[in-house]
């Protein structure tokens, strides 16, 4: 080992040499390439925005803001409003975030705080990340054939006994908000868990030692010290998960019931913007396409707002990694 080390400094066996013209050229080219790709991504995004907004303009000028707060979607009467879809998108994503966020962060704690032997930790981590590789449509089918029959008895019980609570005020007919939110929670789980794990792993060792040095128990250390320290990263994970939930399409289109309805009840069918877009595009007429583009712009804006809000929260709380 030591000998190897020395050989770098001795004789002409050295590994270091001045850059050849070829190296410099390569360097330049590589720089140019990365710059072009970065620029291309930004241009692409601008172009997509231009396309979407351009196509949406006829509908925007025709319907105006009432599009956002009216509740009818009637193609035959050419009346369009997406308040139920905005509600459904936010409600389903929020429910998914509550469930998926809780489990995701819990899993992250479990897998990073030495509860398990290292090998099993790695194994579990990979298995959870595999969840992200399952196609959306498979989640949808699984939801229809497995999840809905499974949650029907508890849902009927909740509706029967606690029907006075607005959340359980309708009976579950099959597809609806609850199965959709559950599947959505599973879909965002890997994102939330993976990023939260990174945040927890990035806590400086000194902080950990200091916490235990103060005589905290393991749970005190986790809840009072580690979680607050990693809170920035965990918030980031939640925001990303929420963003993913907002845009999820196919599984929701299959599970949410696609009903143009605003209801607090989690057993009622609802609709989301992404599902509306996916299901109506193929057969849409020119004007309808414009209306759907308007809905797409709305979804984009919601996602943007969520991301900006997330960024602000993260910068306000400060990333645990930097502290």
């Amino acid at each position: 080992m030591a000998k190897d080390h020395q050989s770098v400094w001795e004789g002409d066996d050295t590994l270091s040499r001045p850059a050849t013209p070829g190296d410099r050229l390569f360097d330049k080219l590589f720089q140019g390439l990365t710059f072009t790709f970065t620029l291309a991504t930004i241009l692409l995004l601008t172009y997509i925005l231009y396309e979407i907004i351009g196509k949406a303009l006829p509908a925007i000028s025709n319907i105006g803001f009432s599009f956002l707060y009216s509740t009818t979607w009637d193609v035959n009467a050419q009346q369009f409003g997406i308040l139920p879809e905005i509600w459904g998108t936010l409600y389903s994503s929020l429910l998914a975030l509550l469930l998926g966020g809780f489990f995701g962060v819990t899993i992250a704690i479990f897998l990073t705080q030495d509860f398990l032997p290292h090998r099993i930790q790695v194994l579990l981590k990979n298995i959870i990340e595999l969840l992200a590789a399952i196609p959306s449509v498979v989640y949808g089918l699984w939801g229809i054939y497995v999840l809905i029959p499974l949650i029907r008895p508890p849902a009927d019980y909740l509706h029967g006994h606690f029907g006075w609570i607005p959340f359980f005020s309708t009976s579950l007919s099959g597809p609806g908000m609850f199965p959709a939110a559950l599947v959505l929670a599973i879909m965002i789980l890997p994102t939330v868990a993976a990023i939260s794990q990174d945040a927890l792993l990035a806590i400086p060792h000194k902080t950990k030692e200091a916490a235990y040095g103060m005589g905290t128990t393991r749970w005190e250390a986790i809840l009072r010290v580690f979680l607050p320290t990693a809170s920035g990263g965990i918030f980031g994970a939640l925001v990303l998960g929420f963003g993913r939930a907002l845009g999820e399409t196919m599984a929701l289109a299959m599970l949410i019931g696609n009903s143009n309805k605003i209801s607090l009840s989690v057993f009622s069918p609802a609709d989301t913007l992404a599902a509306l877009l996916a299901l109506n595009f193929p057969e849409a007429s020119d004007y309808e396409i414009s209306v759907l583009m308007y809905a797409a712009v709305t979804l984009l804006l919601i996602t943007l707002l969520v991301n900006v809000a997330g960024a602000i929260i993260i910068s306000k709380t400060g990333s645990g990694i930097n502290r």
Partner: protein, 344 residues
């Protein structure tokens, strides 16, 4: 060294690409592309596959994207022919300067499938099923349903209506029929590819035929509309519907053919059967069309298309019943054959 390998690989890839494209160009093939309706897509793809096998040198590609998309492609001239469950309206036809020849190629039925344990046969009167889809009749043991089904014990269960979530020709045909038999349905829901279904807690929508049939299967007390072929394939029970003459008819070949027999084919080949006549007719049946230009730049293409139509009429109709479609009546086959001469 590494660079050498890379260059060699790249060169061989490029060479292979040239060779491949050369080979593709060498074969003198006629490629026909079509797009449109998903309802007849299963039988069309079978027809086209068999047709291409029987006629070396003609290849037909069909993309099932939906009737609306097919018409759009047809107007934009991105395809050689299209298919649509809603034919083509006059406004759309005027946008095609070469002229349009509509040809009904097959016909289908739409059935009401349901999920009720222990109920193998269900009669639905004309006054009832529009009411179910309007959300007016909410329970399976509604007196109107019980009265039409003597001897059947109907549960005290909520009816969950399953409709199509995506825009579709199936919805168009079904809502057209309901509008024809129920003025109330016509006024509040109306007909179209996306009817304005009432926003009720017991009305859910699922995408495509598979989505609707899966949802019906998984939801006790559900009822929904799907294509006959699909219901037959997935073995879901189908309701007998009361037709115009007051008879309950089960969906199937006999009821479908009787429904088609009652309608005359006009010059433009566009005929609707919103409420077919005849005592044995199943009430919800429809033709589905292929759309052709009257004038093609390439005469070989026009000839190939005429050949294709002839094949579908002669050989194609034979497998229609097995695939869950209704074979065209002999009169209609002759009328279509005559009209196909307009494809030039």
């Amino acid at each position: 060294m590494k660079k050498g390998i890379f260059v060699k690989t790249a060169a061989s890839v490029v060479a292979a690409a040239f060779l491949w494209s050369g080979a593709a160009m060498a074969a003198d093939q006629i490629r026909l592309t079509g797009s449109g309706a998903s309802f007849p897509a299963p039988i069309y793809t079978t027809w086209f596959k068999q047709f291409s096998r029987a006629n070396k040198g003609i290849q037909v590609n069909y993309q099932s994207k939906g009737s609306g998309a097919g018409i759009r492609d047809f107007i934009n001239h991105t395809v050689d022919f299209a298919a649509s469950d809603a034919a083509m309206n006059d406004e759309e036809i005027t946008q095609v300067k070469e002229g349009v020849q509509l040809l009904p190629m097959t016909a289908g039925e739409i059935v009401l499938s349901y999920n009720l344990k222990g109920v193998d046969s269900l009669n639905l009167p004309r006054s009832v099923y529009p009411g179910i889809f309007l959300g007016k009749i909410k329970k399976w043991n509604d007196p109107a349903i019980v009265a039409a089904n003597p001897g059947v014990s109907l549960p005290d269960k909520d009816i969950t209506v399953v409709a199509r979530a995506d825009s579709s020709g199936t919805s168009f045909v079904f809502s057209k029929h309901l509008s024809a038999i129920s003025p109330e349905f016509k006024n509040s829901v109306g007909f179209g590819k996306t009817p304005h279904w009432p926003a009720a807690a017991k009305l859910v929508k699922a995408p495509k035929n598979d989505g609707v049939s899966a949802t019906i299967k998984q939801t006790p007390g559900a009822i929904g509309y799907i294509e006959y072929g699909f219901a037959k394939m997935s073995k879901i029970p189908m309701a007998k519907l009361e037709n115009r003459e007051g008879k309950f008819v089960a969906p199937g070949l006999a009821g479908g053919q009787a429904a088609l027999a009652g309608a005359k084919i006009p010059e433009n080949m566009r005929v609707w059967l919103p409420d077919p006549k005849g005592a044995d007719s199943y009430p919800i049946a429809t033709y589905t069309w292929m759309l052709f230009y009257k004038k093609y730049k390439n005469p070989q293409k026009a000839e190939a298309l005429r050949k294709m139509v002839a094949y579908c009429l002669d050989e194609g109709q034979k497998i229609a019943d097995r695939a869950g479609y209704i074979p065209l009546p002999a009169k209609v086959v002759e009328a279509v054959r005559k009209a196909s001469a307009n494809i030039q």
